[in-house]
């Protein structure tokens, strides 16, 4: 339970960065931290006390393993997180080229 709450606190740090910061790179970093917290939460849900990693071996019983399904889903989620970060960073680079700043309050006027 404490671990769940700590993971939630990590999520809230990322949420604070997204909501409060005015620098685009800080917002992207906040998104990344939220993504870390979500992935960690899924893996925390899948953990079993004295469990073993879900790889078959000779001398083991099936019910002693941790849950492999959230691990497979998080594996997908990590790669998609990389794609999202790359896309958002490229948009931020483009905005910097156009406006010369990362400050989101300065980026409000249209320039052709």
């Amino acid at each position: 339970m404490t671990l769940y709450l700590l993971c939630l606190a990590l999520f809230c740090v990322g949420l604070y960065g997204v909501l409060r910061k005015r620098n685009l790179v800080k917002i992207i970093i906040g998104l990344g931290i939220m993504e870390y917290a979500m992935n960690l939460f899924f893996i925390l849900l899948a953990y079993r006390y004295h469990g073993r990693s879900p790889i078959e071996a000779q001398d083991q019983q099936i019910l002693q393993m941790v849950d492999p399904l959230p691990q497979a889903l998080v594996l997908t989620s990590i790669v998609i997180g990389l794609a999202v970060t790359a896309l958002v960073i490229s948009i931020a680079i483009r905005i910097y080229e156009k406006y010369g700043t990362f400050d989101i309050t300065e980026i409000k006027r249209l320039r052709g």
Partner: protein, 171 residues
């Protein structure tokens, strides 16, 4: 116990990343958080995830450093600083309240439900021939999921090329 320490380290690193003055040190701090996450995956018995997280973290750091190199900007604090912070903290408090209510319904740490995955565990090796059950799930039982992931990756690559290309100007 070591998991608690690792999570506290991650929270401190995330706070430094969000609050640091210059962007490069904040990027380095978020890299530290990512590598701590990799260690946490190892402790939680998920070696495939630890490997993937390591590679993805290195790529993410390279991309982020490319974006922030020689573009340091001082953080401006002006305007309605007090009300903005207060509103953000109030939103986070409401979020924490509802999340804490929802957490009571979950099974305790260390006792997963394993309702769906029981069949995969019993028949996985016989049906797919894969020794690693995570590989069996992503490549056989839920292969459409992986197909969608590849689609998202390629869509993102197309998006990056469209955003970053320099169009030629027609005179």
């Amino acid at each position: 116990m070591e998991l608690h320490l690792l999570l506290l380290f991650m929270i401190v690193g995330a706070l430094i990343a969000v609050e640091a003055k210059d962007l490069l040190s904040s990027v380095v701090a978020v890299g530290a958080v990512g590598f701590a996450l990799c260690l946490a995956f190892l402790i939680l018995k998920a070696p495939d995830l630890a490997i993937t997280q390591l590679v993805v973290e290195i790529l993410c750091l390279i991309i982020l450093i490319r974006a922030t190199l020689r573009k340091d900007l001082p953080l401006v604090i002006k305007g309605r600083w007090f009300f903005n912070t207060l509103g953000t903290l109030a939103f986070i408090a409401v979020f924490l309240f509802f999340a804490h209510t929802a957490l009571q319904e979950l099974p305790g740490f260390g006792h997963p439900i394993m309702a769906v995955v029981k069949r995969y565990l019993q028949q996985g090796t016989a049906q797919t021939g894969a020794v690693n059950l995570v590989a069996a799930v992503i490549l056989d039982f839920r292969a459409y999921d992986t197909l969608g992931e590849a689609t998202v990756l390629f869509a993102s690559v197309i998006g990056i090329m469209a955003v970053l290309r320099r169009p030629g100007r027609i005179k």
